[in-house]
Amino acid sequence: MIEVENLGKTYVKEPVVRDLSFFVPEGQVLGFLGPNGAGKTTVMRMLTAFLPPTTGRVVVAGVDLDEDPVALRRNVGYLPENVPLYPEMRVDEYLRFRADIEEVPRAEVRDRMDDVAERCMIGDVRRQVIGTLSKGFRQRVGLAGALIHQPPVLILDEPTVGLDPNQIIRVRELITELGRDHTVLLSTHILPEVEQVCERVFIIDRGRIVADGAPDALRTQLIGNPALVVELKGADGVATEALLGLPGVVAVSEREPGHFVVEHAPDADPREAVFGLAVERGWVLMALIPHRASLEDVFVRLTTREETLAEELAEEVSHA
């Protein structure tokens, strides 16, 4: 649905997006994850034919950006960052305006307006002036505007920023629902959002993709082995060695006296063995907690400003 080849954007000699290539199949919900300034918005603006790329090729829903940017825009519903709206218009006036400029056939305008208002749950505020709406409603009005022409591809730039937790949940539900009949590309720097909503994640740092995969796969692929946090009372100097001797355990480190992180093979579960060892040696087991690396860890590891790591990973991804 979205095909990107060697996409690059340079502002005043400063590369913002470097040599990006990826493919998003129809119906996928894809998350763009990255710190501020990573180039997420720039990529999205190029995919929506707002910014011309410096290099590379973009094809959305079969339309090449170079050949027909206006046709490409017809296939994309775009919700820019911070949801720009016209505050002086009424919701219905705005939806009608969007329907007109997005070329919704005249006969269908009414139906489309009703449909998106219902989907985005803004039915009660349709007569209201946009400037008087709460942030959550404005977000949904923006989304309704992006959906009005039934585009096959939706591009949402930080759709949940500035919302309260309830509103965030509702917008996420809406996005999940939209994902059933749209190809969705959304950007965010909120990690749980990606884990909940997206089937696939790109982690972007300084204009390149440093990781690409399902949230789960990324976790294991990039963080390495799962681990247990073990807290023992009365353990002496040999505890590290003893733990290391257990089947399936790959590495043990003592963070502070009595606190151990026990890494084990993904298919092994040494919890019973740890318990048995403690009983056998007469140690008191204070804690035994499976430690699952969150996407947060992946994110921090990938995007902390260490050029080498990021570059290495970018290389890995491009080889894969």
Partner: protein, 246 residues
């Protein structure tokens, strides 16, 4: 056409939902009414030479120009600068709308507002008609002149509004360019070289407007004002295309 019209309609909603529009309308009418009153009482004095009040009304005094030079930037400053400031330009230019359609729609809305501004002055003509003979030819020509000047100046203002995301700066740029276009005619008298003088003479907006007010619709004036206006609209569309800013 439908998309351009949608932009025009949206812009009109924006005009009439802001207090600025009403302030401009009220101030414009107040000043025009006062000037009209002054002109009529001045011309009622038997010692003044014979002139028609409407000829003075249409460009015959500096007041006419002061209004135009101040009011037009106020009408146009918001057009695109505000879209850029608020980010709605991104919505506009990621829908299947071309830059030219945006510029034409915005400009047409400004033109309609400008016409709405002048519409009540038709009353003055009606008032005069009740009290004296009026030659309608020059009056119509005067309105043609007002529309053409409006076309030219509003196009300048639309262009200025594409250059920045700050309305005030857009207004100042529009004002500066309009003053430059206007003062070409005033510079003319200072030039010695006869060739240049002739060229500048043709670009003198004051005398062009005076011709219209006299009832002369000179096609050279019409062509000059329309073509310069279209040039600025073209520049506005190009500027919007080039300004693929961050």
């Amino acid at each position: 056409m439908r998309k351009t019209w949608a932009i025009v309609r949206r812009e009109l909603i924006a005009y009439f939902s802001s207090p600025l529009a009403y302030v401009v309308l009220a101030a414009f009418l107040l000043m025009q009414g006062y000037i009209f009153y002054l002109l009529v009482s001045f011309l009622n004095n038997p010692q003044t030479q014979a002139m028609t009040p409407l000829r003075l009304f249409f460009g015959g005094t500096i007041f006419f120009w002061l209004f135009l030079l101040f009011v037009v930037p106020v009408i146009t400053m918001r057009l695109i600068a505000e879209e850029r400031r608020s980010g709605t330009i991104e919505v506009l230019l990621t829908s299947p709308v071309t830059e030219a359609q945006v510029v034409v729609g915005k400009f047409a809305a400004a033109m309609l507002f400008y016409i709405a501004l002048w519409l009540p002055t038709v009353l003055y003509v009606l008032v005069l008609m009740r009290h004296s003979e009026i030659d309608l030819g020059p009056v119509l020509a005067g309105y043609v002149g007002v529309l053409l000047l409006g076309f030219l100046f509003l196009a300048v203002g639309t262009f200025a509004s594409t250059l920045t995301d700050n309305q005030l700066i857009a207004a100042i740029i529009a004002f500066a360019v309009m003053v430059a276009l206007f003062s070409i005619g005033l510079v003319e008298q200072l030039i010695m070289s006869s060739g240049l003088k002739a060229v500048l003479g043709h670009m003198n907006l004051w005398t062009q407007m005076d011709d219209f007010a006299k009832g002369i619709v000179d096609t050279r004036h019409v062509v000059y004002q329309l073509s310069v206006g279209i040039l600025f609209l073209f520049l506005a569309a190009k500027s919007l295309e080039v300004k693929k800013w961050r």
